[in-house]
Symmetry: none
Subunit: 215 residues, 2 copies
Amino acid sequence: MIRVLIADDHNVFVEGIESLISGSSEIEVTARCFDVSSVIEHLGHAPIDVVLLDISFPQVEDGLALCEHITRTFPATKVIALTMHDDASLIKRVVKKGAKGYLLKNTTKVELLQAIRTVHREKPYFNEIITNILLHDEPRNRKSGSGTGLKPNLTPRESEVLTLISQGLTTQQMATQLFVSVKAIEFHRSSLLMKFSVPNTALLIKTAMEMQCID
Amino acid sequence: MIRVLIADDHNVFVEGIESLISGSSEIEVTARCFDVSSVIEHLGHAPIDVVLLDISFPQVEDGLALCEHITRTFPATKVIALTMHDDASLIKRVVKKGAKGYLLKNTTKVELLQAIRTVHREKPYFNEIITNILLHDEPRNRKSGSGTGLKPNLTPRESEVLTLISQGLTTQQMATQLFVSVKAIEFHRSSLLMKFSVPNTALLIKTAMEMQCID
DNA sequence: TAGAAAATTAGGGAAAACCCTAGTAAATCA
DNA sequence: TGATTTACTAGGGTTTTCCCTAATTTTCTA
């Protein structure tokens, strides 16, 4: 029997998934969680084979973080990401966080059961629609044109400052936190702009996110 | 017997609603529609008391238009709008289009059945959460941290400015391009910071990307 | 159709970002 | 050892961002 945990704060969806699974003789829903903490708590007590995780749980960031936590802490438990969005970059980010499968919420009963069985056999599950989305998404390594698209080599301090910038801190705040002057931080920021070949912080954040230097 | 039509292109959701309703002796689901045209066609043939309409069907504009069409063409049929978003402006727009009730997709069985019964008795149904949202004119259900996870409603100008910011233009460049003063652009930028609840442009870009408002 | 609400347009002033130069310390190499 | 490179630190001065307020135009509504 494959034990499934449903992690979704939308009651209707939990009901829907349960209803779709209920017919199966080899899969059973043994837990339903409406918030992040109860998912973690439950996984620590009872064994779960597959987690069906709403990636907006309740927000995208939370879902991604939870996905990462589950796959690291409970490697035997496989995660299938569920979402409304057919977005290539989101799929990539989810996979990067350790999800073994990705389903849209308009999936069918057959596909849902298939996906659960597949990831339980240690295999990744992505249907044709998802595969197509990934295929048609433009390749990241465009070596021609203005930008190289390659991650620049950052010094430890620069990486540190980049992370803090992406968290919304001002130069003053970073200076305080790192025990250096405002001018020192400003220089690192300037170096980042140069290394990423961008004119300002706005584009720095955008390109750094696209290159997945931050997230 | 109250006859209900479910209009949603997400299979899991339709299953969930059916499952929640299935226990009731006075309410039955007599139709499930996965696209706009089949909803209209079905209403023309068989009588329906309550339509449970996913407002993103498949886009928000489609849902609103369909809601308006149903309430005008079939006044005996009541519409309950369903959505993931707890957004005051969306609720107002939906109500303006003739919806008698509004439910979030994390509703409970009790509430769903209550809502169906209430609108069938010609009364509007809005629970405390929705009422609060309307009263305070901002989303309530922020379960995690500072981020809302909800796309703010942007004016045309704001969207335009957001796009240009994400392209790395400075305020001066945008002012030239849009034939207005620097100060006008700066105000729009400020409005964006406020609507996204972020302290600076760096976080604005980050959150707007995560919410898929840009890119 | 008048009144209210929302959107767009700015100004002044403070804060932050940005661009230049430059000193110091550690690692690398001839 | 002495010269060179790399990373980190910082100052001066200009531009841009950010926050406050407010007038004008447009849109919605009673």
